[in-house]
Symmetry: C2
Amino acid sequence: MADGLVLSIDGMGGDHAPDIVVEGVDIAARRNGGVRYLIHGDPARLGALLDRHPHAKAASEVVVAERAIGMDVKPSQALRQGKGSSLWGAVAAVEEGRAHAVVSAGNTGAYMAIAMFRLRTMEGVHRPALAARWPAANGGYVVMLDVGANVQADGEQLVEFAIMGEAFQRAVSGKQRPTVALLNVGAEEQKGHEEIRTAAQLIREAGVDIDFQGFVEGDDISKGTVDVVVTDGFTGNIALKTGEGTARLVGQLLKESLTSGVLAQLGALIAYPALSKLRARMDPGTFNGALFLGLNGLVVKSHGSANGRGFAAAIGVAEKMARSHYRDEIARNLQRLAQGASQAAKEAS
Amino acid sequence: MADGLVLSIDGMGGDHAPDIVVEGVDIAARRNGGVRYLIHGDPARLGALLDRHPHAKAASEVVVAERAIGMDVKPSQALRQGKGSSLWGAVAAVEEGRAHAVVSAGNTGAYMAIAMFRLRTMEGVHRPALAARWPAANGGYVVMLDVGANVQADGEQLVEFAIMGEAFQRAVSGKQRPTVALLNVGAEEQKGHEEIRTAAQLIREAGVDIDFQGFVEGDDISKGTVDVVVTDGFTGNIALKTGEGTARLVGQLLKESLTSGVLAQLGALIAYPALSKLRARMDPGTFNGALFLGLNGLVVKSHGSANGRGFAAAIGVAEKMARSHYRDEIARNLQRLAQGASQAAKEAS
């Protein structure tokens, strides 16, 4: 059932590329036979891998790219010297309309710089944002943004993030009316940075069409108090990494506990299936796929250390986004925001 | 072995006061017979509890306070109407030299406001900071500050936090040379907010005598990459709460997994002693006791929901700080910072 969806894949980006990329495409191709993949990279290495992954091979076309951008290349360097790389080619395929979305596990800074340079920001968006998903106690996944695209964000930008994150959450979770809140240090209106209070006021006054719940705190992320948590890229990056670090610590301590003696080992062996379920739930691979929101094109970022299953999850995010109406939804709300913001500016003057 | 140490205790502060307060004093008194406690609060209720806790009774004196400050009272209200409360009296005992440190599980904002008003900040400190401890993969506890006293901090204030946090870590852990770093979104010098880069430069140029390691990221907190993580109160509060929330989520998912079937339950039963060790390690009660650093007096904050053991841990922090030389250590480094900062200002003008 070919449905015409084409995804552009950076074959050489990430710690374990190209192996996990082809593996991921294979898993995704088995899951959904209708999608075509343009895999950019070294034809010899990709060809050899595709020979071992028949589902991927049947659904893919290799696009030759002479080289890969290393994980430690700086964004400015990537812009100057990136042309001809697999990452550059993968992004260009979206720009030129040959693909509906691009997926890469490569260098985040380089990816973002090239995507911004080639695709430009959507009308009405000041700065794009990086949105990630995080498991929540209610069984779903919270969308958090910005998790690192911009170090700072003013009130209006935070509202743009809220609008984009809400549409992202709807597209990936199918929830029709995701709840949204701003990350703060307390639920009271007078707390936190001024830009957060400005954003809350703007959302309310501009009549932005989202289910806005006010402020939440750090522990609300894992609780799943709301579906979308909005913050600036500095705070979001630190919150995400602190959460990841804590999950890893608890996992490590659990492992140490359950191998600390014969009884503990026996218990762990018996409880093994239950413990694997827990591991799958907390494994970033199962909810892999961050999104650069706000560009003229869908740009999905896989964890650099993802395995094949993780890369397939990132492909899944790209598929869902490409099939959604997120762009129209965002455009409508951005227009409301622009009207509300200019109204507020008029009243202030 | 009476050693003259006197601790001032808010008997009525916290979700489960006065019960857990007297319980905590009892545990602490059993552990260390030399300390005296001034417990501020309702003499009838405290007296009845002390009758059931002989160790606490033998070491304590009740100081009458007519009322308690509720957990939802605002800081400004607490300042206006707080006189006569157990919290006010407990802080005043330190101010008036009748006790070496104060411990309360009460309303954080009210506690901070009253402590600042009564004790004032140390010379050379612009704003006090709230420092918390967090378990790390290396078996120790990381000190993180500020976790919520100030929403913002400039470069010089961040250096003051670094100096105070380092002395706190040495006093509670016994580590002679704790390592210190600034929390940032990347390890590179050019990343993050300007105030963080300013702070790094100031520490190096002013010759502040701490083992400064540059920048760390969110996941380094749980890794224990350094002993002291320095950030502003907004970021620190969100990082701490995100970490707590994640630990709680993993704990909840683990519990769900291990009760999800007969085999899982059997495994959990067999591995029970190992799992309890894990729980103790992640239980905030075992590393309870945040510190308001930078005041003319030792002010320890217990979690509002702490149990008796947790309150005893907070008392332990107060004991260790009171027996340490943190004040001289801080004063020396603050002087270096002041000289370095004025030198930098001179060069800039």
